[in-house]
């Protein structure tokens, strides 16, 4: 079935694929070297394929900055609490809708799915959060997206494949529906819940727009917003607050380019570390997502 001969066409394919990957690898590698370079090299520019001079000063500045740590803390808070709550409520709704005998099921399914296709839009959503008094609260990062209709449909489809007979025997044994949901349905659905949980974690880690519009208190800024401010407004203003005393001395070693690169790496470090291990679950997840019911 497969030709073993190495043809020109095949060589071309390998070349193109290698180049595609090279643009990704080299981009990250260049930034890594940039983040490890002292100012006079970083500002000169050009492609850095190896660190001409090694310095940890950029990272020292970034890691020593309180905004970065606060960002980490806030991102962790929203990711952990947000993912747990989202997963729980989405699964709970999915469980109810997976029951064919639930009254007005078709209507409720439409009630939820309709929100996937039409929304109030940016301003009405913003005004709602504002009128609920959620501005500058962690709730504003978690509540507006608490349940995703799309994830609910996917989890519901999985629940529907579970055998109803076992649930019925649990009912006869005196277990309530909620207990069955917690102790029987959820543990049996680990594969789909793990997949959705991974989506939610990445979503929370990467989300920035809600923080941008709902949060103005800088002690609640998440990592993405801290990074965005550093990149857009220039790193010096934000990062100097911690080291104003010896700013002049540091000025000679750190550069805005190097600092930004270091910030990017500090922000994405957890994702880069976890990525090789969780990648295959995401690939599985995309297949589950494409199986519609």
């Amino acid at each position: 079935m497969i030709q073993k001969r190495f043809t020109v066409g095949k060589a071309l394919i390998y070349l193109i694929l290698t180049m595609l990957c090279a643009t990704i690898v080299v981009a990250f590698w260049h930034l890594l070297n940039l983040s490890l370079s002292p100012s006079h090299i970083a500002t000169k520019g050009g492609l850095l394929l190896y660190p001409k001079e090694l310095t940890w000063d950029n990272y020292a500045r970034v890691v020593g900055n309180r905004y970065i740590w606060m960002g980490y803390k806030n991102t962790l808070i929203r990711t952990v609490i947000g993912t747990v709550l989202q997963l729980f409520f989405t699964a709970m709704g999915a469980y109810v809708l997976s029951k064919r005998f639930f009254p007005h099921r078709t209507f409720w399914t439409f009630f939820i799915i309709f929100t996937m296709f039409f929304s109030g839009g940016l301003i009405p959503n913003y005004l709602l959060v504002k009128d609920l008094g959620l501005l500058n609260t962690y709730s504003s990062m978690i509540l507006p997206g608490l349940i995703s209709a799309y994830n609910m449909v996917i989890i519901r489809n999985y629940f529907q494949s579970l055998p109803e007979e076992i649930e019925e025997s649990c009912l006869i044994d005196g277990a309530g529906r909620f207990r069955i949901f917690l102790q029987f349905v959820l543990p049996l659905s680990k594969p789909i819940l793990a997949t959705v949980a991974l989506w939610l974690v990445v979503g929370h880690w990467n989300s920035w727009f809600d923080v941008l519009i709902y949060i103005s208190d800088d002690t609640k800024f998440t990592l993405q917003i801290v990074l965005r401010r550093i990149i857009l407004t220039g790193s010096k203003e934000i990062l100097d607050t911690s080291a104003a005393a010896n700013a002049a001395e540091i000025e000679s070693v750190v550069s805005s380019e190097g600092l930004k690169a270091a910030c990017i790496f500090v922000t994405t470090f957890p994702i880069l570390c976890a990525y090789p291990f969780v990648q295959k679950f995401f690939v599985k997840g995309i297949m589950i997502g494409s199986l519609k019911g």
């Binding site: 079935m1 497969i2 030709q3 394919i13 390998y14 694929l17 990957c21 990704i24 690898v25 981009a27 260049h30 930034l31 500002t43 000169k44 520019g45 492609l47 850095l48 409520f89 709970m92 109810v96 029951k99 064919r100 005998f101 009254p103 007005h104 409720w108 939820i112 929100t115 296709f117 039409f118 109030g120 839009g121 940016l122 301003i123 959503n125 913003y126 005004l127 709602l128 507006p144 608490l146 449909v153 529906r177 909620f178 990467n206 727009f209 519009i213 917003i225 990074l227 990149i231 380019e257 930004k260 990017i264 990525y275 090789p276 990648q279 995401f282 690939v283 995309i286 494409s290 519609k292």
Partner: protein, 328 residues
């Protein structure tokens, strides 16, 4: 086979005749809530959530037809009919944002849509398993990074002063003048398209790769026995097998043509490239939350959402016709 609802009704009240009108059946459904109190209780928070965070904002759309003032609230503000729409439609920046949205989406469709298909076809030719796996792992990576992070990267890489890309263009390709990829209207859209492909091409290829993996291998065997070359196998077996997936994905992409990629544009653009880069979503953000023209921005948002809704529902109906199943 009775549906769940009918079954529930017949269990509760055996006197209900088999044939009854929809309204009666709907009314009888309410008895089910008492029959399944635990399920009903579990469902209440879900309904409350969707009502508050999804349906109330839909009601909030009324401010598109009012002159909303914070001090007067949504109900107290005066009705102005379609003033906000006519005002928006008469500003040149609005027309520009619609034009940019459609152009950027169209270009992304033209170049970004075939890219993952080509990548999947190329990966399918790779017989070296380790190499294939590495290409996949590397090309999926950018998908997991936010546009905030990627914008930070691209600002550095594409910088006209000391960016790596301009350095390569200068030293290797002999381009004399630095290119302002993110600051020049001539290059901005191209930069958007290329960076978008760079981020998503690997990830989007997964679906096509899975479809290819599902093709019956005996087809290839038979073709090879008949003397078909690799290219002929691709041309006459692989590509035809992909057609239905491609058609569905294409229709869905057309359905989301009103989304030109807010995250990407918002993090990469600046006032120098509003001419080519300002899309409807960024327009709504700037006018609504920046200038606090809530009513005007809501009107523009509604305009976009209605068109997007019609497109998505329409394309879904078409997909349903073609494949026998819609996306939901």
């Amino acid at each position: 086979m009775p549906t769940g609802e009918e079954w529930a009704v017949s269990v509760i009240d055996t006197r209900v005749p088999k044939r009854e009108n929809a309204f009666r059946r709907w009314l009888h459904g309410f008895a089910g809530y008492r029959k399944y109190p635990a399920l009903t209780l579990m469902f209440i928070p879900v309904v409350v959530y969707f009502f508050i965070f999804k349906y109330i904002p839909m009601g909030g759309i009324v401010i598109a037809f009012k002159n909303y003032k914070i001090s007067q609230g949504i109900f107290g503000s005066a009705w102005v009919g379609l003033d906000n729409f006519t005002k928006a439609f008469n500003t040149p920046t609005f027309a520009r944002s619609v034009r940019n949205t459609l152009t950027i989406s169209g270009l992304k469709l033209l170049f970004g849509f075939p890219a993952p298909i080509i990548l999947a076809l190329m990966l399918n030719e790779v017989t070296h398993a380790r190499f294939k796996k590495s290409v996949q792992t590397i090309s999926y990576l950018p998908h997991f990074l936010s546009w905030v992070v990627l914008a930070g990267m691209f600002q550095q890489l594409l910088s006209p002063n000391n960016g790596a890309v301009n350095a390569i263009l200068r030293d290797v390709f002999g381009v004399k003048e630095s290119i302002y990829f993110l600051g020049n209207n001539k290059y901005f859209r191209g930069t958007l398209i290329v960076t978008d492909i760079w981020k998503n091409v690997g990830w989007s290829s997964i679906l096509y790769l899975a479809t290819i993996a599902g093709i019956d291998p005996t087809l290839y065997e038979a073709a090879t026995v008949d003397g078909a070359t690799r290219w002929q196998c691709t041309r006459y077996i692989t590509i035809p097998s992909l057609v239905s997936t491609i058609v569905i994905m294409l229709i869905l992409s057309v359905g989301s043509i009103m989304d030109a990629g807010f995250d990407q544009v918002f993090n990469l653009y600046n006032s120098a490239v509003y001419q080519t880069g300002d899309i409807i979503d960024t327009y709504v953000y700037r006018y609504g939350l920046g200038d606090m023209k809530y009513s005007l921005a809501t009107a523009v948002g509604l305009f976009k959402n209605v068109i997007a809704f019609v497109l998505v529902v329409g394309t879904n109906l078409i997909t349903r016709k073609i494949s026998g199943e819609g996306i939901w």
